[in-house]
């Protein structure tokens, strides 16, 4: 009887640590770029969602509903296996950044929209009456106030984003999860592999989650 966590399996893992370090590096780079993309999309579509122009609101709605109501896995598979049939061959790294970024962009858009809506509309009316343009009012009056409310749920989205980069494993994305799958399916030392990868994700996410709680306390969102 050899346990799933037998010591010699751990030794093998420590010997091959470079495999996991490489995966961690990929996961972090995808996370950073995807988060940047998600923030840009989220703010743009979040603001559009609160605008007075019906057309802008409709566009924002379509984006949010379409992305939020289809599984991320399908979106990844479409970008990876589907697009090449239409002559677009994105490298797997780009597939990762794009899919995860666009996916979380939709969620962040909702967060941003809710944040903006929580600011009394009198603020916008006052700014417009003072000669601010719509975007100027957003930039200088509304968003700075909304950001305080939005920050805790936003960091929460960042945590989810990190975890969701693991879907890249199914399209040979080279991320942490893929490395664990690949390494452990060769020697079948899955026990140490998945525990280690789980801890590495924890290591990435826990500081952010702690930051969320800290921000919540500071902004008085939680009691």
């Amino acid at each position: 009887m050899v346990g799933a966590f037998a010591w010699f399996k751990w030794e093998a893992l420590f010997r091959d640590w470079a495999v996991f370090a490489e995966g961690l590096r990929t996961t972090i780079s995808v996370t950073v770029l995807a988060l940047t993309l998600a923030l840009i999309l989220g703010i743009v579509f979040g603001v559009l969602g609160t605008s007075q122009w019906t057309f802008a609101r409709v566009i924002s709605r379509i984006y949010v509903e379409f992305i939020q109501n289809t599984p991320l896995v399908i979106q990844v598979i479409f970008l990876y296996h589907g697009l090449p049939h239409m002559g677009v061959m994105l490298p797997v790294f780009a597939v990762g950044v794009l899919s995860v970024g666009v996916y979380h962009g939709a969620y962040i858009a909702e967060v941003v929209r809710a944040g903006i809506n929580s600011i009394h509309r009198g603020q916008m009316e006052a700014a417009l009456s003072q000669g601010f343009s719509f975007w100027g009012a957003m930039r200088h009056i509304i968003l700075p106030q909304a950001s305080r409310i939005v920050l805790p749920p936003l960091t929460n989205q960042a945590v989810n984003l990190i975890k969701n980069t693991s879907v890249l494993a199914i399209v040979a994305g080279g991320d942490l999860m893929y490395r664990a799958d690949s390494w452990s399916s060769d020697n079948i030392y899955y026990g140490p592999a998945y525990v280690t990868v789980g801890l590495l994700y924890l290591l990435l996410c826990l500081p952010l989650a702690t930051l969320t709680r800290h921000l919540e306390r500071k902004s008085g969102v939680s009691s």
């Binding site: 009887m1 050899v2 346990g3 799933a4 966590f5 037998a6 010591w7 010699f8 399996k9 990876y80 296996h81 589907g82 090449p84 049939h85 061959m89 199914i170 399209v171 040979a172 893929y178 799958d181 690949s182 452990s184 399916s185 060769d186 020697n187 079948i188 030392y189 899955y190 026990g191 525990v195 801890l199």
Partner: protein, 271 residues
């Protein structure tokens, strides 16, 4: 410090999980019961059904026919023979496995045996009991006809799709080094995914053991002549269930001497 307490508790839980499962339980030495069967074999006999992990996406080995919903193939037949040997009738319960799940399913006892194009390697023997080989096959390469690739050498600078069970990866790498072709590998968890990747142009070559590959051959693809590093398929069982491993080995040896194994292989058009 409440916080420190929480962190410590969670750490302890993790450590407990890891070491708890890691402790090697005293090996269950097969004690022959009255009728000469070891305890692990007797347990299967008493249950009246042999639980086997098989592939469902490998034509001719273990394949679930979408029309009949039945799993069939060479490895299913082999499982039935082993079941007959242990229980007296062909009574098996199949569980679909992938390269990723077959190890855990054995460890947890969800299946008694894994007969799923499981390549025997020295490293794997440390974790599981493997029977003698019931099938040996070389690694082959499937490419699109339109790619014009004729041999491994032509794959210089190309991407090869392999399954997550890197024996084929290692075999190709060794051969590629000899012919001085620089290749890279992308791993997927199932064979259909690799085929999809090949069709999408994500990989230039789909490589796995030849007889599996033939199940994916179609009009637009071709299998290259190159064949290397014969891979041994063995029936895997949990370490400790040594009585079961012995019965499996005896069964395979009998099948080999009687020529029955070759007949089964021919029946499924393998080789």
């Amino acid at each position: 410090m409440k916080k420190v307490g929480i962190v410590l508790t969670s750490l302890l839980l993790v450590v407990g999980l890891v070491t708890g499962c890691g402790s090697t339980a005293p090996a269950a030495t097969p004690t022959p019961s009255a009728n000469g069967l070891s305890a692990d074999v007797q347990a299967i006999k008493d249950r009246g059904v042999l639980k086997v992990g098989v592939k469902v996406d490998v034509p001719n080995f273990g394949y679930k026919d979408p029309k009949t919903e039945k799993v069939e193939g060479f490895e299913i037949d082999l499982a039935n023979v082993i079941s007959k040997k242990i229980i007296g009738t062909e009574k098996i319960e199949t569980t679909a496995v992938t390269a990723k799940t077959r190890g855990p399913l054995l460890d947890s006892g969800s299946v008694d045996l894994v007969i799923a194009t499981f390549t025997v390697t020295e490293v794997r023997k440390k974790s599981y009991n493997f029977s003698d080989a019931y099938f040996t096959d070389g690694v082959r390469l499937l490419v699109k006809k339109s790619s014009g690739i004729k041999s491994l050498k032509d794959l210089d600078g190309k991407k090869i799709g392999v399954a997550q069970s890197a024996t084929s990866k290692k075999a190709i790498q060794e051969q590629a080094n000899i012919v001085k072709a620089k290749v890279s590998f992308l791993e997927f968890s199932t064979y259909p995914e690799i085929k999809t990747a090949l069709e999408a142009g994500r990989v230039d070559c789909f490589s796995v053991d030849g007889s599996i590959l033939f199940g994916y051959l179609d009009d637009s693809t071709t299998i290259l002549e190159d064949s290397f590093s014969p891979q041994d398929y063995g029936v895997a069982s949990k370490k400790g269930n040594d009585g079961l491993a012995k019965v499996v080995n005896e069964t395979i040896a009998e099948l080999k001497t009687s020529g029955e194994l070759d007949k089964m292989i021919q029946k499924w058009g393998l080789k």
